[in-house]
Amino acid sequence: MRKSDNNNLPEKVKREIENSDVGHRMPEESKRFGSDLSSHIYSPDDFSVLQAIEPPSPHYRTIKSLDELLERDEQRNKDGFKRKINIGKIIKPGRAGSKKIIIVPTTTEDKFYHDSRVSEENENHEDSRDSDSDETETGESAGTAEGEVGDVIGERPLTPEGEGEGTGAGSGSGGEHEIGASAYELGKVLTEKFKLPNLKDKGARKTVIRYNYELTDMNRKHGQVLDKRKTLMEIIKTNINLNRFDPDMPPKPENFIINPRDFMYRVLSKEKEYESQAIVFFVRDYSGSMHGKPTEAICSQHVMIYSWLMYQYQEQVMTRFILHDTEAKEVPDFYSYYNLNVAGGTKIQSAVDLVNEIVEKENLAANYNIYIFYGGDGDDWSPDKNLFDEAFSKLFSYVNRMGITIVRNSYMAQDKLTDFELFLKERSILEKHKDLIELDVISEDADDKRLVEGIRNLVS
């Protein structure tokens, strides 16, 4: 009797019952309100919460998890309807150019809606305004302002701050972590929903667990190293509670009362660390011609690849980011990788050289599976094709997989091969290294579905 009752109780309460000492009694359930008044609104007894109406039996359901939803989406396909669940990104611009990206499942409810993107007059306008070369109208909105028609009332920089040169390794490092957190989940979704292949075990290295001793744990009153910042915060907290701290006045430290418990120390602790098994080089062209949609497409795809690998390797993936125009450089995190743009020429060889150099210098080939994903618009001004070929060949001595994505710019002839494609073809690189390299060409308007399709091409 008791047993079956328990099934309806929230997790926490169940645990409490199980762990409770003998003789400790749970309070009697109120007959009128069901088991828990403040229970979840999706709990079966929603009306017992609202109006004390007896719950209907049997109980029906709770929110579906993402997995269940994806399963349902798969079923749609079998029933002959199109899939509906997509992966969306929410990007929140943060301080100092760092952004938070969160991956969310999305769907659109298709209905007959008016399309506000195109209208009759608008297009005519655009024609007549062509002569205005200096200033381009980008939109209008309602607002409030004093002044006369034509007055400029404000401005905003075109490019988010923190762009330009990707210095200051610290600035975006928080961001890497943010994406890491949701990347695993996205990778799982991609693997399961889009049926991305599981990685073949090409002599993958075993995970190595290492123990490190680090000063990361905190302790009150005593320990190895005094954490001054935390301690000061504790002191302030204490004084706020004692009403000795007026936020509107400059604080007077000499008046502070200090509780011995306010001293916060760091203590040595043993940390388990997994050695990464894979290293991924993301390489992209950030020259002038990549501005806008091509960059967006490449970066979106690279985020997905990154997530997919995170899932495949259970988060044991190291990443390196390399940008190139006529020269290549390494940037510290995905955010610089995502955001930087310059207006230079294009020399893909520079990037290949840099990857070779890094792998060689750090002796990465011995310890890791190495993946390289390259994205660009196919422009290439490498002057000496033989040198380029040589650099490329070197790459294939260690790489596990190279995936090249070429985004065709809308202004280029769609049927003509780009410089890079031409080079790959002339040197028959794709044929020579069939198992190691894949090429995928997409248009700059490619949507998420096409991008995922591309990943499948690249890694299959």
Binding site: S38, I41, D46, V49, L50, Q51, P56, Y60, R61, I63, K64, L69, R72, Q75, G80, F81, G88, I90, K92, K100, I102, I103, V104, T106, T107, T108, E109, D110, K111, F112, Y113, H114, D115, S116, E120, E121, E123, N124, E135, E137, T138, E140, S141, A142, G143, T144, A145, G147, E148, V149, D151, V152, I153, G154, E155, R156, P157, L158, T159, S182
Partner: protein
Amino acid sequence: MEIIDQHTKEIMEGCKVRARDAGLRFDDESIEYIVTNQDLLELSPKGMIPTLYDYWVHDLEILKGRREYELYPHNPYETVINSRPPLSFYNDNNPDWLNVMIFYHVLAHIDFMQNNGYFRHTWDDDFVGLALADKRLINDLRTRHGRWVDYVIEFTRGIDNITGYYQVLSDLNAAEYIAKPGRLDYFFDVFLQKVKNVQAPEYLKEIDDFNRIKRESPLDVESILMSGIRNRFPEFENLYEKYQAEKTPKPRDIIEYLMRYSPFLNKEENEWMKSVMQIVRNTALYFEPQRRTKIMNEGWATYWHFELFLQDDRIKGHEADFARVNAFVTSLPKLGMNPYAIGWRLFQHIEEMAEKGRISYDFEKILDVEERKKFDRKTGKGRDFIFKLRNELCDFNFINTYVTQDFADRHNLVIIGERVNEQRMTKEYYIKSKDADDYKKLIIDSLIHPPFITVSEETQRDGVLSLVHQYEGKQLIPEFIENVMTGIEYLWGGEVKLETHLIQKGQPEKITYVMKDRKLSSDAS
């Protein structure tokens, strides 16, 4: 989620008394709940109705909402549900004085929803309870038909934004006897005059009969008279039924059309789908008025919390706190539009204009600026006037009628343009127009206006369902057409056609889409 405590309820009841004194009208009962932000996250995909039917898209929205909340935590003060009794939700961390202000805001919302004519069809229902019954029905159907219930929900939702909302309102307001004449009405008004073509003396004799019977046995007039009529005219009953059938209202939208005429839905094994469609349609209709009165509803609520709160003696000492919160809610942003703020200022402006008698022809015909400024008839009717608006208008006519140049100038409402300044590498914002008509147009464009799509019976042939979209200068979103039409094809059980326009190079061009065997094709070259 729990009911507010007695102390807070007492504050609420106090607010009700004061709000009634000020002229607001609403039912006695109301239920208030304290909710957490997490609860609200789960409620918002369901349009805040805790008992709304379950649907996987809502679940997905909740999952998404939770992630979004991590990035953008927010803290809504209140939400009101238009039901009988109305429910309202409050954040669990509001102090008492803030609750006083919020209660006034909520009461004004309730007043608006219970008096504005656009809500007419929601006045008689405990929607929360109805929704619960619907939810149970749908869950019950799910146990029998599984995921197909969700497909029917999805496909019906695909056309639930183009319901015959205005038709529903107009039917409600039409007098009963026009919609459905009784037997006696039919006999005297139609049968004798149009079917039998009787002469005047004969007609008067019938009337005499009627009056005599009515005098003798006033309670059984109809039955006595009818038995006589049936004896004399055996065809009467048949003709009456035929007439009734003709008078039966036509389907008011595509959903109703499908429910009545779809060969697929009329198969016995598919009858259950109709109840699902009915639920989806009713739910959509329920939400219609709220979407069409956002600016007014928020403006009205803000107007009243401002009025009533300042007069409330229970808030002594919190005037400054109030000013701060109120300023947040009512500030006019430099860039963008705040419906609370515009609606509130517009109500204030209109009240003032009506108070001075300026909403009149006498005022309109004055051209002299100085005289216009001095014009004041001291009518004392300002309040009455805005109460009338609260009964009769929706956002469109509210904005269209009352956003005038005077109003725009008074609050510095302008259109702000954006352009790229390449020299400075900035996006510049500049005043593009101070014309109230431009401002009005921008707001009106942002108001909800679903496309007008109807079933065309003229072009219906060979079991093909033919839909026509009335082109109003805007095309339909092309990407969505396929999925919506797939859904309609499923519910119709056969080929579906849609006539619409597509804008090509700035010019509308006629295009017909055909959905057959889940494949979309069009006659575009």
